[in-house]
Amino acid sequence: MRKRGFMHFATVGFFIVLIVVTLVGHATWSRYHRTLEEVEKAKGFSLLALAASVQNDVQRLARYAVYEALWSVCERADDYLDDTARVAAIEKLAVEYFTERMTDLTRMYEGHDSRIKLEVTGCKPSFKLLPAENGYALAKVEFARPIDISVDSPDNEMKLTLTCNEFEVMIDCRYFLLQESMLRFIEGIEKVSSNWRWAEYAIAWGQALTGQVKLDGERSKLLFELAWRNHELNTFGSFDRFAMLGSIQLLSSSAAMLLQMDRGIEISITVADVEAIMKYLDRALDMLEAAEVDLRKVGLLIQQVTVIIRNYVYLENSEREALLLKEVDKKLGEALWRLDEVRNHVRGIDDEFKRLVEFVKNRSDPISASLYRGMTSTKENRPPLSQRISSCLKRVEDKVEVMASQIHSCRQQLRADLVDIEHSLARLCSYIESCLQGLLATPYTAASIMNESDEAISALRTTLEGARRDLEEVYGIARNIEQQRGTRMREEVSLASGNLDVQFMWVLDGMDREWAYEIAPPPPVHELPGISVFHEFDVRHVKYTRQDPLGLINARAPPTPIHLYFLNMTLYWAQWEVTLELEAKPIEKIFDFYNPVLPRPLFEHSKGLAFLHKPLGYRYEVPHEKFSFILLIVSPLPFDVA
């Protein structure tokens, strides 16, 4: 066995064992270090997670500070001059709340986990409230000096410090939507007035046509409420359906009445209609003037012809005979043409007037109907306007016919018998002059139109001009009515009143509605933008002051009559100043229906540990306590005033 170069097996084994022991020792050493490293890593990750958790807590605190600031400011949104001032107030309050809560947060960590240290000294925060999509808000928080979040490991061997300079938190309620919607509501508050005015007009005019106008304070209150709701619906897509609980039945009947009035029937003649009627008359008057000019020209032509013939007879100048006769013939021809023109004008006047009557006939309002009756039917033994005008036109046309035939025969004679021409022309001239004097005579006497007198053109002119003056009066009335009454209330009024859900009203009776809405906001009428609406106001009184001449003497006097002689009609005019005064500034509050996310006490002003999620409300005291308008009723039928 003893060979050079070989060892004993045992020696080899010993070396193997030595090598393995060395390897194992190294492996154990490595594993120990790896484990230490992993522990450090885990510790680091744990510290990082803890610090991130604290940072997250700070961000959550910022969100709650903004929630609180939003709640405080929105509860008295009208205290601020404008949107910028309001946002600045929210930011300022959020800073206050956040700073206060940060101190508490520091103490909380000190009390519960000594490993966590929050260094907040001198890190004055600043909040910036920015609009986000769909009316949500974003709060950007910046610190003058960063917040230091220090976290120690349990064995105090590792320390991690996280600094926080700025962050953004999403505010999950639509503050900017509420602010913008309320601004639109306040800016358009005049629409409440105009809607209410229109509703009052619709009802009062309806009453005037049935014979008695009765103005009722309770009804005015309800109409005002309806108008308010209408404005809410148009602005917010919803309205306060549970306001005015006690009067709900009355409200419904008033709404129904309004609905009936609002089916495309005009309560009064419109300014546009009166203007159209006046245009027909203006065209007729223009044609009448043209006819007068033509008639005067005819008279002039006949006079010229008479002078020419006289010269021809006495001078016996045969050289000029042909020329003069040609001149006479030409002038007589022109006179005939002028008379033709007069006939055309007269027919044109007739056509215009017929069109006017047809136009008036097709209007649906009661004043137009009365106008139509006045123009087409006899009243108090006076023939209707249409008859008077057609009678005048016929007389003019007859006269023109006779004049034309006289001139024509004289023209024929000019060629056949030159000896008698001077006498004939003298007779013609005298006849034409007398005709023209008759037709164009002024001044016109009222009696002549009733009789078959000659003063037809003058009578026609006086009649048309008189009718136009009457129409100017009607125009003034229509314009006043339109100005006072305003535009028609939109269809939503009927919707607003028709969809009233009365079945749960008893539950709210006697309850603080504003609080009840905070807890359970009523679903909005329209899905978008998703705003619930609350309003509260009490009407102190509604005052009606008569303003028409008879009404000034006695508030219950019948309406003042306005006689329109030429239109053959009488209008009855009554006018009031209607004033509605509220007890205090009305309160309008809107809620973000889809985001009831703010953790708030169940009872805001009393004590208790019950909390729940509430929607953000935006409360505004509307700076209007008095609403007034002029109610002007002009009816073709007499009515009583109750």
Binding site: G13, R101, M108, L508, P523, P599, S606, G608, H613
Partner: protein, 218 residues
């Protein structure tokens, strides 16, 4: 067998012995510790879940809808929460469902927010099932430790979600985070004044919600 043969045999035996010792040392010297790997994984998962609870919003898990336990037929008592983080949801659940003890007796509350509590629990279970995916058993507890607002008045809150699996289980990792309440202690104390006399000094320290997530072996 001669002396040479005997010596040879002893030598071989010694060699075999040495080799056996070397092998056994090698077998024992496993450079990787399997339990440590599991523990570390569990710890990291716990951290990640805790961070996710603070950053993930409710709408990522289908939103949360509940109804207040209030009879209000004129309006909506349904609450839909979409943008809140899960940790925010937990603290708001705590503040909305605070329990009150007076002189050691539980005050019967109207539990307006019972459905919020239930819905939060369901949502958290859904979230944790999704995150953990059956790899571990878990329990998540959010609690406000009983805190005295006065000598007789105490508030507390606890909600827990768990899925622990079989009997033979072992806790692998646990982590606790503190979340502040939406209300400061002063505000809470001010609200509690209506219930009973308040001794302000007894309210230390500031009230917090402790959220503990534990992972358990299956």
């Amino acid at each position: 067998m001669g002396r040479g043969g005997q010596a040879c045999l002893v030598d071989a035996l010694m060699f075999a012995l040495m080799a056996t010792i070397a092998c056994s040392l090698l077998i024992e010297a496993n450079p990787v510790e399997s339990t440590a790997i599991h523990d570390r994984y569990a710890a990291q998962l716990t951290h990640s879940i805790m961070l996710a609870l603070q950053h993930a919003t409710v709408n990522e898990f289908g939103g949360l809808t509940y109804r207040l336990n209030i009879q209000a037929p004129w309006g909506s008592v349904t609450r839909e929460l979409w943008h809140k983080t899960l940790s925010q949801l937990l603290v708001e659940d705590a503040i909305c469902n605070l329990r009150i003890k007076i002189d050691g007796h539980e005050l019967e509350m109207l539990n307006y927010n019972q459905e919020l509590d239930d819905a939060t629990r369901d949502l958290l279970k859904k979230v944790l099932d999704k995150f953990i995916g059956g790899r571990y058993g878990y329990s998540l507890t959010a609690r406000v430790v009983p805190t005295k607002l006065s000598s007789s008045l105490q508030v507390y809150f606890e909600v827990s979600v768990e899925s622990l699996g079989g009997e033979e289980r072992q806790r692998i990792h646990s982590e606790t985070n503190l979340f502040s309440l939406p209300l400061t202690k002063r505000e809470l104390v001010s609200c509690a004044k209506g219930i009973g006399p308040i001794d302000f000094s007894q309210t230390e320290p500031e009230i917090a919600v402790e959220v503990t997530l534990s992972l358990w072996s299956r």
